[in-house]
């Protein structure tokens, strides 16, 4: 019952949003270069469906590879930070510096350093998506109940066991929060990468249609991009539902009938 009305509610908000948009464009005679109407965008999407689908693939590849690279490396670094004070103290300043560097400013240089095609896109996506993984995972790993670890110590368990049986499950909610943030950042990264360093992909379509002031096509590509992104985000949500047992999901807790 509740689920159904929520879905309806979400749908309604969507419809109202687009209706207002359409009306505003119509009533205020806003030119398509400034803001195209939703119907015009929809039309453009339908017209260019083959193109948009085709261009989605390289973008998808860049996002997923960049994301995976960020997750793997970020996770490993977080483990280092959580378990070794030296690693933490020696990497933190550089980590932060690296995160603060406006990577977008480097994008043209990336082109020169990493060549064309997939590589620079993946690098940018990974670089942008990396930081939240490190911060959140390290936080999760260090917030473990100390007595639980002591209990494992009393069993003479190995560090590896403590890690897999206690710390990792404990940190999972933190990690999933990070994954959700990072996937969206990987998307931004891949798009930026495609702005500067690619002749294909949705980012390229967005950029080139922006330059040629083909605003409808730009919006069409942005919409496709968003749909792609939402699908990837949902994949993570599903993974979370699957991996986090009942005891750890947000909406669990004491429940009376």
């Amino acid at each position: 019952m509740y689920r159904l009305s929520v879905t309806l509610g979400q749908f309604l908000v969507f419809v109202v949003f687009f209706a207002i948009w359409e009306l505003l464009v119509d009533l205020l005679h806003i030119r398509p270069v400034i803001l195209p109407a939703p119907t015009a965008i929809a039309e453009k999407i339908w017209e260019n469906r083959a193109l948009l689908l085709k261009e989605s693939w390289p973008t998808f590849a860049a996002i997923s590879l960049g994301f995976i690279a960020a997750v793997v490396s970020g996770f490993l670094l977080a483990v280092g930070i959580a378990y070794s004070r030296i690693v933490r103290d020696l990497t933190y300043p550089f980590l932060i510096a690296a995160q603060i560097l406006p990577k977008i400013a480097f994008a043209p240089l990336f082109l020169i350093w990493f060549g064309f095609g997939l590589t620079p896109k993946i690098v940018i996506a990974a670089l942008i998506a990396f930081f939240p993984i490190v911060i959140n995972t390290a936080k999760g790993l260090t917030s473990v109940d100390k007595e639980l670890l002591q209990y494992m110590d009393s069993l003479g368990s190995s560090g590896w066991e403590k890690f897999t049986k206690i710390s990792l499950p404990w940190a999972l909610p933190y990690i999933f929060a990070a994954l959700k943030i990072s996937i969206t950042l990987a998307i931004v990264g891949a798009v930026v990468g495609e702005f500067v360093a690619a002749g294909e992909g949705l980012g390229y379509v967005i950029n080139s249609s922006n330059i040629t002031l083909n605003t409808e096509l730009m919006f069409a590509a942005i919409v496709t991009m968003s749909v792609l992104g939402i699908l990837m985000y949902l994949a993570i949500v599903l993974l979370e539902r699957y991996m986090l047992p009942q005891g750890q999901l947000e909406d669990s807790g004491h429940s009376t009938m």
């Binding site: 030119r31 270069v33 043209p108 082109l111 060549g115 922006n210 040629t212 002031l213 605003t215």
Partner: protein, 299 residues
């Protein structure tokens, strides 16, 4: 041979002759397979060719000169657009006739991401405009929407890009060419890495020949060029593309070219460009322009 070439920006009908050359097999005739890539501004293209990440580039001459002065080994083999396309664009209902008077109280959009802003600075100096009487705002890639939204009263951009796009979007705009304000400089040119040229003089010659041939042929067969471009870029705005191509082709003309051949350039032309850049303040010192261009590969 496979030769890569990076253009200045995303594909537009200003690149139609290149698509035509590929389609007609001019490059194939020279035994060359072309790897065509869009660009992200002339400055990036210049850097990439200087770094040998692309064999050829198609970018504005000012950027080539700046990059060469900064130590990148660049060699221009054909100056395609002989005239400066930069213009002050404004809606007809808020006309600007006399720069000195009509700009007062207006907001001018400038593009920081291109040297057009610097050219505008030179114009302001040359024409002794009082910059305090009007307002300049950044407007990269958004001259037309901003004009359309009334956020700016005039914008600096390429007339064949921003100007024509505005018209294609149904706005009634006019423009003053910088060429007519005394900024006579070369525009877009074909260039390569000079080390690459030294090692492969024949390849460079063949490539340049096919490239220029495309432009000559396009000038004579404009509809065919347009068709080739649209075929390769089906999602393009066809009205705008059709409007733009003849204007671009017209920019290939000059007194010099009419006497010699398409793509030809002169020491005077390059020196005048260098002079302008010096005045604009983007070039710290002079270099010998003879090292950065040659007409040798035009046959």
């Amino acid at each position: 041979d496979t030769v890569s070439i990076r253009l200045d920006w995303a594909y537009g009908s200003e690149h139609a002759p290149i698509f035509l050359a590929i389609k007609k097999g001019f490059f194939a005739d020279e035994g060359i397979e072309v790897k065509l890539m869009p660009g992200e501004g002339s400055s990036v293209t210049a850097k990439l060719v200087g770094n040998r990440d692309a064999d050829f580039g198609y970018a504005t001459a000012d950027q080539i000169l700046i990059a060469a002065q900064r130590g990148l080994p660049l060699l221009t083999t054909a100056v395609i657009l002989q005239q400066n396309a930069t213009a002050l664009i404004f809606p007809k209902d808020k006309p600007i006739k006399d720069l000195k008077k009509d700009l007062a109280g207006k907001t001018v959009g400038v593009q920081l991401k291109s040297t057009t802003k610097l050219q505008w600075d030179k114009v302001k100096g040359d024409q002794k405009l009082d910059a305090t009487t009007f307002k300049e705002v950044p407007a990269d890639l958004a001259i037309v929407p901003l004009l359309s939204a009334g956020r700016i009263d005039a914008g600096i951009g390429y007339f064949f890009n921003d100007g024509l796009k505005a018209r294609a979007a149904g706005m009634d705009v006019d423009w003053i060419l910088f060429e007519d304000l005394g900024v006579k400089i070369y525009s877009t040119a074909l260039f390569t890495n000079s080390e690459f040229a030294q090692k492969n003089p024949d390849l460079v010659r063949r490539f340049t020949r096919a490239f220029v041939k495309g432009w000559i042929y396009a000038k004579a067969h404009e509809p065919e060029a347009l068709a080739a471009f649209i075929e390769a870029n089906p999602e393009t705005d066809k009205v705008y593309a059709k409007m733009k191509l003849p204007e671009v082709l017209r920019l290939t003309e000059s007194e010099d070219v009419s006497k010699t051949t398409m793509g030809h350039s002169t020491p005077e032309g390059w020196n005048s460009l260098q002079e302008t850049l010096l005045q604009m303040g983007v070039l710290p010192q002079k270099i010998d322009v003879g090292t950065i261009y040659t007409n040798d590969y035009l046959k």
